[in-house]
Amino acid sequence: MLALVYFIILAVIAVGAALCVLLSRHPLYGALSLVVSMVSLAGIYGLVGSPFLGVVQIMVYAGAIMMLVTFVIMVLNGAKDKRTPMFDGVSFFIIPAVLVLAAMVGFALLRSTMTFDSATVAGSVKVTSETLFNMASTGPGYFLLFEVIGVLLLSAMVAAIFLAKRHLGSVISENTEDKH
């Protein structure tokens, strides 16, 4: 019962924040709303017995990614583009489409029966971590995937640096040209 109450509170916050993202004019506000939404989602993860995931959610999403977003938004002055309207014709096409889609999926969900497995809800950090890192019992598959993800992140970082670097170089050359 108590869990339901917490859930409702967190859900309302999450949905509200998401709506704020949709409706905010400035991207910075949007980003901050997004952080709120993510934090509340992390709460829900904790509520249903995946605290580890919730922590990762806060650290990576609400922390790292959103920091990146806000940083970029603040670096780019033109981020708040007054000329472009918030919505246009496309928006009026997409909203009903998504609503219909959601309604359909919701309809399907309502027809199904699901119940929590009490043991699972109780706690799963141990199981999760053992599956991930205990190669002796579950084989190297997940661990390998984990390492690959590391490499992916590294390469993404390198790619981002390359993209940004080329851009910076061009700015410098433009500037030098301007001087002459």
Binding site: V90, F93, A97, V100, L101, A108
Partner: protein, 651 residues
């Protein structure tokens, strides 16, 4: 093995080919050709060595002949063939004159081809030709004979187109090869028929004879006559191609585009007679096939007559001789058609001498007139080139069948055999043959008169340069002239010389006996035939003398006659018939190229265009706004989910 190996015979010309071919290829880049003396020596040496081997073997040959299997050739399921040689009475005769005349003509060519750029190449071809011809004759199976058969065709192609700078020569060569190819396919299919009848062992001549004997012994001839007739007919088609019989005769007159020694060797003495040789080889088979023999007789008869008439109307000295060759080949086929294979081979033998002599004489004339071939611009040459004239006149007497000369014996023998072959058919064919003999005398007399008698009708300039041929050319001609006179005495029935028949008996004797048993011959006094034959020859010569020695022959200006391809003259109606076939093929090709191919391409490009249009059509749906694009896809997903749910999918 006590005798010389048989493969020595083809080996020498093969070595000659390789050596001379190498010399020709290596020296082709150099400005100055290889030494003509060296090349000439090599070119004559190898055929002569081959001739020597043949002569040695011929003397020591036992009655049954030599047989030798070298190695396996093809060995697959259904089919097995060996490379083997067979030296018996028939191949002995053929080989003797093939290598002998071949060596003589090679010698003659040294003089004739003097100074030509392709000197070495020419002799390489000649040696290759002799190799193929020897293989053709010496082979012990049809398949190996076919190797020689196509090989000589190929050499004929190469030599007709020897002066390949002139595209006309090439066209004549192509024509010769393709027409021959038609015949060759007949040969090929004939072999396949035989294989189907009794397995690949039938391709071996001994195997075939054994098979036929077995069939006769078992009394199963009637069942097998139909397939054997098919095979015989197909082989005969092959023979008509190689021996220039109706309907595949058109290539031979055009083949005169080649150098004259080639015409003498290939297109008169040796290659064209291989059809007759094949019929004699397969005598055991043909003697059972009455209908095919009938066809052969008629084809031979019509060819002889037709070509003789055509010979009357030619002005090119070599073309007259070409038609004469076709006509004489017709005689040989007539003989083969009444199962007188020994007589036909005898005529092949004598014909080789006098026709080679005639051609070499014509070559000497052309040589002395610096390439002039038109008889209307010759005349009176007997004073200027007496040796050539004598040789030609002796050969002329031989071909018309003047008593005592070679042609007299062989031609009379053929006519006699034809007459006695059947009650109604025999006399009819005989009369036509006799008429042909008269016409032969007329056109050959015309040739001699126009060339050697009367006044010279050419340019003054050329007249001054007329000279007798060099000794290296005259020597072979004289020998051949002797042959033209005396070779007939190998089988002079009337005076009791039957050496030739006896030597052939081991090969064709049994077949002829079988035929005679089925068609008993009437007995007629041979002297009557001799008298009639003589009369025909004399009559023809008289007509020729009357008509042509008085007639004013108008010298023509302009280029001499050259092979004219299918447009030669009306006499060879067959050219037009061939043209009709070619036209059909061309129309088919045109249809394939212009209609079918275009339609297919149209279909191909239509499909491509449809795909492209569909692609373009889809790209209309692609809008500039990426977001709109995305929303379309979301809407699409929504639609799909809706479909799934309302069709009762997930529920």
């Amino acid at each position: 093995m006590t005798h010389l190996p048989l493969w020595f015979i083809p080996l020498f010309p093969l070595i000659g080919t390789i050596l001379l071919g190498t010399i020709a290829v290596v020296s082709s880049g150099a400005k100055k050709g290889p030494s003509e003396g060296l090349v000439g020596t090599l070119a004559v040496l190898f055929p002569a060595l081959s001739f020597a081997v043949v002569a040695i073997l011929a003397c020591s040959m036992p009655e049954a002949g030599f047989r030798e299997t070298l190695c396996n050739w093809i060995d697959i399921p259904l089919f097995r063939a060996d490379i083997g040689f067979l030296f018996d009475g028939l191949s002995r005769i053929m080989l003797l004159f093939v290598t002998g005349i071949g060596s003589l003509i090679a010698m003659y060519s040294i003089g004739y081809m003097h100074g030509d750029r392709g000197f070495a190449r020419f002799f390489a071809y000649i040696n290759l030709f002799l190799f193929s011809m020897v293989v053709l004759v010496l082979a012990d199976s049809l398949l190996l004979t076919f190797l020689g058969w196509e090989g000589v065709g190929l050499c004929s192609y190469l030599l007709i187109g020897f002066w390949n700078q002139d595209i006309k020569n090439c066209k004549a060569a192509n024509k010769a090869f393709i027409v021959n190819r038609v015949g060759d396919i007949g040969f090929l299919l004939g072999m396949l028929t035989l294989v189907t009848i009794g397995g690949s062992s039938l391709l071996n001549y001994d195997g075939l004879a054994a098979f036929i004997n077995m069939v006769i012994g078992a009394g199963e001839v009637v069942e097998l006559v139909l397939p054997l007739s098919l095979a015989g007919l197909l082989f005969f088609i092959g023979c008509t191609g190689k021996s220039a019989q109706i309907p595949l005769l058109t290539w031979l007159p055009d083949a005169m585009a080649g150098p004259t020694p080639v015409s003498a060797l290939i297109h008169a003495a040796t290659m064209v007679t291989s059809g007759v040789y094949l019929l004699a080889r397969l005598s055991m088979m043909f003697c059972l096939l009455e209908h095919v023999l009938l066809i052969i007789v008629f084809v031979g008869m019509f060819t002889a007559l037709w070509a003789a008439i055509a010979g009357l109307l030619q002005n090119d000295i070599k073309k007259v001789l070409a038609y004469s060759t076709i006509s004489q080949l017709g005689y040989m086929f007539m003989a083969a058609g009444v199962c007188a294979f020994d007589a036909s081979i005898f005529h092949v033998f004598t014909h080789a001498f006098f026709k080679a002599a005639l051609f070499l004489g014509a070559g000497a004339v052309i040589h002395s007139l610096a390439g002039e071939q038109d008889m209307r611009r010759m005349g009176g040459l007997i004073n200027k080139t007496p040796v050539t004239a004598c040789v030609m006149i002796f050969a002329f007497l031989a071909i018309v069948g003047f008593p005592g000369f070679a042609g007299f014996w062989s031609k009379d023998l053929i006519l006699e055999r034809i007459f006695v072959s059947g009650p109604i058919l025999g006399p009819i064919v005989y009369v036509v043959g006799l008429a042909t003999a008269v016409i032969t005398a007329v056109y050959m007399g015309r040739l001699i008169i126009m060339t050697f008698f009367g006044k010279y009708r050419g340019d003054k300039e050329t007249e001054e340069h007329i000279h007798e041929a060099p000794a290296v050319m005259l020597f072979p001609m004289v020998i051949l002239a002797f042959g033209a006179i005396f070779s007939g005495y190998l089988w002079a029935d009337s005076i009791g010389l039957t050496f030739f028949r006896d030597s052939m008996a081991s090969v064709v004797g049994q077949a002829q006996a079988i035929y005679l048993a089925a068609n008993p011959a009437a007995h007629v006094n041979p002297v009557i035939f001799a008298a009639l034959g003589t009369l025909a020859a004399l009559g023809g010569m008289y007509i020729a003398w009357k008509v042509f020695s008085r007639a004013r022959i108008i010298g023509v200006k302009g280029a001499s006659t050259v092979p004219e391809g299918s447009a030669a003259s009306w006499t060879f109606l067959w050219d037009y018939i061939h043209c009709a076939f070619i036209a059909v093929v061309n129309i088919l090709a045109w249809f394939c190229d212009v209609v079918v191919e275009k339609v297919l391409q149209a279909i191909q490009w239509t499909i491509a265009a449809i795909v492209e249009i569909l692609g373009d059509g889809a790209s209309i749906l692609q809008v500039r706004k990426v977001r709109l694009q995305l929303s379309f896809s979301v809407a699409g997903v929504a639609l799909l989910v809706m479909l799934v749910i309302f069709s009762g999918g997930l529920v």
